[in-house]
């Protein structure tokens, strides 16, 4: 059942958006593809939506080795952008593996990073969920848990982050620009997300009125030709990841000098596989090394009744992703 009606306001400037966004009960709407799903399902009930889609924050610029993407750029525009396709094929490919052509034409980069979990309890009705209704309990933990996380969970919540793009952007050390009531700041994208702890209702470190204005990705040329996003899913297209892995290697003189491994579908936020990354350093790429990276990736995983298969899947996905990019180039 839909939530109660909201009022509509169109932001005329960034400052105007922030001023409106600070108000109690207001929510920004960009493409609307997640917010409106949640409103229709009765999960969120903003009193007012502030339409930010017309703010001039959709520029995509690739110069001086730095890619800057306005937060309101549509996913399809990013993927189709010449410089993105040329210099950041990983970003383009990841976007093209997300949602569908129509949704990518609507969805914005900022909205994608802030989309909420696909946990079926969260998006359901009449079932407990601490994220939707704090204190009601976590239905997934002892219930239908195939989607649930293996890492970073708490007693209160075991949900995963659903964004494909976030996994890849974190692998690329992306930063985001935020403007809010307290002025402008720039943070690592990885600092945007938070673990559920006792307060799973709060997904991010943003505060009321905070507007993401853009995403910055610095030079990744050293990874050129050795980046991949592996997305494992039940059907061939138009589905969120069951498990995903973004991997990038920088190999010099036959030795791995830098590595990035981030996994999706297994944690409340894009999950950096630091141990595996570290282990790879100084190694000569080989199947044995990649197997070891996979083995390290799953250490500490805490499965529930239905998601144990994701441990094996993660291990194999890490291996496969590394194997895909780690061969002789």
């Amino acid at each position: 059942m839909t939530s109660p009606p909201f009022r509509y306001a169109r932001a005329t400037s960034v400052d105007n958006a922030i001023a409106k966004g600070i108000c109690n009960g207001s929510a920004f709407i960009a493409g609307g593809t997640d917010l409106l799903q949640l409103w229709k399902a009765g999960v969120t009930a903003p009193a007012e939506v502030v339409d930010i889609s017309r703010l001039p924050l959709s520029e995509i610029d690739c110069s001086n080795d730095t890619l800057t993407i306005g937060a309101l750029a549509r996913l399809s525009s990013v993927a189709a952008h010449r410089d993105v396709a040329m210099h950041h094929p990983l970003i383009a490919d990841t976007i093209l593996a997300s949602a569908s052509g129509q949704i990518r034409n609507m969805a914005t980069v900022g909205g994608n990073l802030l989309q909420r979990t696909r946990c079926v309890y969260f998006r359901g009705q009449d079932v407990p969920c601490n994220k939707r209704q704090p204190g009601s309990g976590c239905g997934a933990r002892d219930g239908v848990s195939r989607q649930a996380a293996l890492f970073g969970t708490s007693a209160a919540c075991v949900a995963t982050n659903a964004s494909d793009l976030a996994v890849v952007l974190i692998a690329l050390d992306a930063e985001i620009n935020i403007q809010g009531g307290a002025g402008a700041r720039r943070v690592c994208l990885s600092e945007l997300y938070r673990l559920p702890g006792d307060t799973p209702a709060q997904d991010t470190t943003l505060v009321a009125g905070d507007l993401i204005t853009g995403v910055i990705v610095r030079n990744v040329a050293r990874f050129a030709g050795r980046m991949t996003y592996l997305k494992v899913r039940d059907r061939a297209s138009f589905e969120f990841a069951v498990v995903s892995v973004a991997a990038a290697l920088h190999i010099e003189n036959g030795v791995i000098v830098e590595s990035r491994l981030v996994a999706g579908g297994i944690a409340p936020l894009p999950w950096r596989l630091t141990q595996s990354e570290t282990m790879l350093l100084g190694k000569v790429p080989s199947d044995a090394v990649f197997v070891a990276a996979g083995d390290l990736a799953i250490q500490g995983a805490q499965p529930l009744s239905e998601n144990g298969f994701k441990i094996e899947l993660l291990r194999n996905s890490v291996f496969r992703a590394l194997q895909t990019i780690g061969g002789a180039s």
Binding site: I29, G32, T33, W39, V49, S100, I103
Partner: protein
């Protein structure tokens, strides 16, 4: 209710829309200008179907997951069930009614008939609009058509014939 005027002015309310539960909007629909007043929570799909009476655009899931509601907004395919109408104020919208008529079919519509690319027909308008948008992206092979059309579900399973129809028009 629908008000038609001969002009095709764009963006009736280009500047600030005050906070409102009812919004006045103007679109160009299939080349005709029209103005509507609607609740702030209305989706583009609701306006098209319920207020403008253009029922060729279908509601299959109302949550972005089936593609039956696909329309073109400023030339790009979108799912109108997740498109807040107010956000599309001023947009140039094309629905299936603006594509062709039984006497003057669009080439893709004719190909759909030839290939029997439809059964119950409920997904068909969305498939055709999505297909037209995809054709503009120049898919390079059959696999690209399949992937590019995957946002449009067909429960009757007309998929292979739909792809054959699009491939024919694409010259593949």
């Amino acid at each position: 209710m629908m008000v038609e005027t001969p002009t095709t002015a764009k963006g009736s309310h280009a500047d600030a829309v005050a906070t409102a539960s009812v919004v006045a909007l103007a679109f160009s629909i299939n080349g005709r200008h029209c103005a509507v007043e609607t609740v702030a929570t209305a989706m583009l799909l609701d306006v098209i179907r319920d207020q403008l009476g253009l029922t060729g655009t279908k509601k299959g899931c109302d949550l972005g997951a089936c593609g039956a509601c696909t329309v073109l907004a400023d030339g790009r395919r979108v799912k109108s069930c997740l498109a807040l109408a107010a956000s599309y104020d001023g947009a140039d919208i094309t629905t299936i009614e603006g594509i062709g008529t039984p006497d003057r079919l669009h080439p893709l519509q004719a190909a759909f008939i030839r290939h029997d690319a439809l059964q119950c027909g409920y997904c068909t308008p969305g498939q055709i609009l999505s297909g037209i948008a995809l054709l503009a992206e120049k898919p390079k092979d059959i696999a690209a058509i399949r992937e590019g059309m995957s946002g449009n579900l067909c429960r009757c399973g007309a998929y292979p014939n739909i792809v054959a129809a699009i491939a024919e028009v694409a010259g593949l």
